[in-house]
């Protein structure tokens, strides 16, 4: 069955079964940038934004969010037009295996959009739902701070 959804600012008909989670529906429809680390809402790898708010897509029934704006990491920026937040992740060395990166980028994006000048503690709190086993989180936090700095220095807004 196909149903219309709004993903990354485009309407798209997604093939799905009514009982499927948003994570599986997205992955089955080629949005493989949304990763599955546990399927139990505990690791944050499957984070997407629903109307701008981060959620674990493995805990959301796809059919319940048909009316919402869904944003995956590619909705923030792509390989060809990367967001400066994504560039900061690479610059800071926050990208080791990269499996948690899509979720981390979206969690950071959502934080900076609401709070462009977060303290280190606020960053740590905002990323608390996203597990990373490679970096020890240090360089991810650095990347978020670096982005906040870019926002201030260049008088930018997150978009």
């Amino acid at each position: 069955m196909k149903f219309p959804f709004k993903v990354n600012n485009k309407s798209k008909d997604l093939e799905l079964l009514p009982n499927e989670t948003l994570l599986h529906v997205l992955r089955n429809n080629d949005f493989t940038e949304v990763k599955c680390g546990c399927n139990e809402g505990e690791c944050g790898s499957c984070t997407v934004l629903l109307d701008g708010k981060p959620v674990n897509s493995c805990q959301v029934l796809a059919m319940s969010v048909q009316e919402k704006e869904i944003t995956t990491v590619k909705g923030i920026g792509t390989l060809y037009t990367p967001h400066f937040l994504q560039k900061s992740f690479v610059e800071a060395g926050a990208d080791q295996c990269g499996f948690c990166s899509p979720g981390m980028v979206l969690a950071s994006y959502s934080l900076l959009k609401e709070n462009p000048k977060p303290t280190r503690k606020e960053i740590l709190t905002a990323l608390d739902g996203n597990l990373c086993r490679c970096t020890g989180y240090v360089k991810i936090v650095d990347a978020v701070e670096m982005t906040a700095q870019k926002l201030q220095t260049n008088n930018l807004e997150m978009e």
Binding site: V90, F99, G136, K139
Partner: protein, 776 residues
């Protein structure tokens, strides 16, 4: 000075990773693909009397079922190690005996994952339950025999006694421990227990396979060891090596957990039999229960010493729980000794005894740290106790007694990986500088003065503070065993294909290897198109383990590029009508030494060599093995606060100084240190396997298992202190493993500094800490 090496160059795959463009194993799907589910044993120890899959086979959408009934009985080891493997051949892909909760019963391939899962429920398995061994101390010589008459055997000539449940045994003696211990005026003994641990790479294990247009089997897999996968799948699935291609795409972390051949033979057989693509992705719970983990260890250190702190004799004894199968049981055990005992090399009488025993608990395997994580808590606490007893500063003590450049330890030769080790003299070390600098960065001396169990600061207080430290060594590759190789060819525009068997599991080794190549050729990193880990298109490499990639694969790349350099200089000289001695490399050009303006670009050189005169492909290949395994060194200083009411240990500051030789990429090297420290902290304070009385792991989710999150990390100071390792590429040694080993002993020593009590069992969870605090 270096231009590309020792520079913080951004990872070549970085942008593709953070934009979600890179593909991991589960991101590959194929038309007509089958989905595989595996039925795992719910019993710790049982015989299968019968499997009745008749109902499942008639289900709509079920295509194939594999079990002992239709898969040949071929013993192997799941350990992805060099051949012949030092781990015993004691495992069957599908056997009739279940040896731990999580062992393979059978597997179903179906048109969808849902059908495959549903089919598992329809398979009727009749078990005969057996009494299991669920305690590592009760295994040796038990009347319950875990590998009884199943033909299990060691592939190499080593001690192995399945009748006594002994999977591995190691002993090494230097000098005469017994008499030196006896004669010593002071003696201490300390035991330490290390819990099970899971790697928790965020990407779960997955494999996808298909047949290519010529009927060859292609396996895409989450593996650290693609060449070992090819060899072992060939053995287990009875498919010739020539018919198998293994590809490692991006990997979502490994830490040793993906050095095991577990899923690949299952999808391989499914595809080989059905001629259809097949995919198997483990759930997180399956990863916890059914894959491999850190071995459980009981260690004991005995030290005989004098009042001035001189240690006469030291004995490290280790009892290892191999679990149901002996994967890495021998080599992890040997490393428990070989990565600790040489550190204080002036101790004349050393003894290492170790035994790995089978139990009916989850199977151990390779895990970052590889034995050293398990042995340092006892070893380093014992050194702390000696210093405490003799009134010596432990930093000065390590400086005095630690191994120095030009020195050796008899342990290097006495303890190898399944055979004798390799004698080695230390070349590079900045350990003494690491000790000094770490003490400075952590305010060691001020804080040691301030804290202490009887200090004004701590006496009578609920919250007590302490600072502890630990010095460590590891290795870089397995000497005279591990081999790496590289292939390079030059393209028309002056770019290069760099093909390496080395496996980037998220560490950034693709980038690091390109940096090494850049340095040789004086051309930017972007000039290298790096392709790694594909058994058809890259030359052999043992894989990403034993802290080997930068040191070993890096040197293979360097050798290979040196060859390319010769060819480029030769063509360049010919084009400039000069001799080879009269030209040099200069920023992607060949220039005349006398006159830099006489130049030809790399692009012109390649076009000349391909199209114009004396044509040939500028290309080279090189292999490298190492005659030694130069240790990286690290010193960790940890400051903690113990809440004596709740038992919670809070880490206030973590300082690490590290000698990895030349850090090829200081940012990714720092990332290795920080990641390992946090993994070590998580293991030291939270992580454990909790079992039911029947041997079933109860906390098999991230939430219940307790992985550190961003919110848990303490303030950290990491400093890389260079040395120059002559045998490594541009002076590099390894860095990936060593820093996971510091948290347990460092916190334990800090705990003593705060409370005057010794910790004997990890993790240092509140209930255990309270128990220790309440002891008289």
């Amino acid at each position: 000075m270096f231009k590309y090496v020792n520079q913080p160059i951004e990872k070549i795959d970085g942008l593709a990773l953070v934009t979600g463009e890179e593909k991991y194993t589960d991101d590959f799907s194929f038309n007509n693909m089958l989905y595989v589910s595996v039925l795992h044993s719910g019993y710790a120890y049982a015989k299968i009397i019968d499997i009745d899959d008749s109902e499942a086979r008639t289900m709509h959408g079920v295509v194939e079922i594999l079990s002992y009934k239709n898969v040949n009985r071929i013993l192997y080891t799941t350990a992805g190690q060099g051949y012949p493997e030092p781990s015993p051949y004691d495992t069957l892909l599908f056997g009739k005996t279940m040896r731990f909760v999580g062992d393979n019963v059978c597997a179903v391939a179906a048109e969808s994952k849902e059908i495959a899962d549903e089919a598992l429920k329809k398979i009727k398995v009749t078990y005969k339950e057996l009494k299991p061994i669920l305690n590592l101390e009760k295994s040796e010589g038990s009347s319950i025999i875990i590998h009884k008459d199943d033909g299990a055997f060691p592939k190499i000539p080593v001690f192995y006694d399945a009748k006594k449940n002994i999977a591995s045994k190691v002993e090494a003696n230097v000098g005469d421990f017994d008499s030196a211990f006896k004669k010593s005026s002071r003696k201490i003994e300390l035991d330490f227990y290390c819990s099970y641990g899971s790697h928790c790479a965020i990407e779960p294990h997955a494999s996808v396979s298909y047949l290519d247009v010529r009927g060859r089997l292609v396996i895409i897999s989450t593996t650290q060891v693609p060449f070992h996968v090819r060899r072992i799948v060939s053995h287990v699935a009875e498919i010739p090596v020539s018919k198998i291609r293994v590809i490692k795409p991006r990997l979502g972390g490994g830490f040793g957990g993906k050095q095991e051949i577990l899923l690949e033979p299952i999808v391989a057989l499914m595809t080989w039999r059905t001629k259809r693509p097949a995919k198997l992705v483990y759930s997180r719970r399956e990863v916890f229960k059914s894959t491999r983990c850190r071995h459980e260890y009981q260690t004991k250190v005995s030290v005989g010493y004098e009042a001035d702190g001189k240690i006469n004799a030291l004995h490290l004894d280790a009892l290892e729980n191999a679990g149901g199968y002996g994967s890495h049981a021998l080599t992890v055990l040997a490393n428990a000794g070989s990565k600790t005992l040489p550190l204080l090399n002036k101790i004349e009488n050393l003894r290492f005894t170790g035994m790995g025993v089978y139990t009916n608990l989850p199977v151990g395997g390779a895990y970052r740290g590889y034995g050293a994580t398990e042995s340092y808590p006892a070893y380093a606490q014992a050194i702390d106790m000696v210093c405490e007893d003799c009134g010596l500063d432990i930093v000065e003590y390590y400086k005095k007694w630690c191994i120095k450049s030009g020195e050796t330890s008899a342990i290097f030769q006495a303890l190898g990986e399944g055979k004798e080790g390799v004698a080695m003299t230390i070349g590079s070390t900045s350990l003494v500088e690491c000790l000094d600098e770490g003490a400075k960065l952590s305010d060691w001396y001020e804080k040691r003065k301030l804290y202490g169990p009887n200090s004004d600061f701590n006496k009578g207080k609920r919250l007590k503070r302490g600072i502890g430290m630990v010095a460590m060594m590891q290795g870089s590759a397995i000497p005279e065993i591990d081999m790496a190789s590289a292939y390079i060819k030059m393209n028309d525009d002056g770019s290069f294909n760099l093909n390496v068997g080395a496996t980037d599991l998220g560490t950034g080794s693709d980038t690091v290897l390109a940096q090494i190549a850049s340095e040789v050729l004086d051309t930017p990193v972007e000039s290298f198109i790096v392709y790694s880990s594909d058994t058809d298109f890259t030359p052999f490499d043992t894989g990403a383990y034993a802290s080997s990639t930068t040191y070993l694969s890096g040197q293979a790349v360097r050798k290979c590029v040196e060859e390319i350099k010769k060819q480029i200089l030769k063509v360049g000289a010919e084009m400039l009508s000069l001799s080879v001695d009269e030209v040099e490399l200069n920023d992607s050009r060949v220039t005349a030494k006398e006159n830099i303006k006489e130049e030809v670009s790399f692009a012109d050189i390649c076009q000349y060599s391909l199209y114009q005169k004396n044509q040939f492909q500028i290309q080279a290949t090189a292999s490298h093995i190492s005659p030694k395994s130069p240790p990286p060194f690290a010193v960790h200083f940890i400051e903690i606060e113990v809440d004596t009411f709740t038992g919670i240990i809070k880490v206030l500051n973590y300082t690490a100084t590290v000698d990895c030789g030349t850090p090829i990429n200081p940012v990714t090297a720092e990332g290795q240190v920080e990641g390992a420290i946090v993994n070590g902290l998580s293991y030291a304070l939270f992580e454990n396997y909790y079992f039911s009385p029947h041997g079933k792991m109860l906390n098999d989710t991230f939430g219940k298992y307790g992985v550190y999150t961003a919110f848990d990390i303490p303030p950290m100071k990491v400093k890389l202190i260079k040395s120059y390792e002559e045998t490594g590429p541009y002076g590099a040694k390894s860095i990936s493993e060593i820093n996971i080993n510091g948290a347990l002993p460092g916190i334990a020593n800090a705990f003593y500094n705060a409370t005057g009590k010794r910790l004997h069992s990890g993790p240092f969870a509140p209930e255990y800490v309270l128990k220790v605090l309440s002891e008289k």
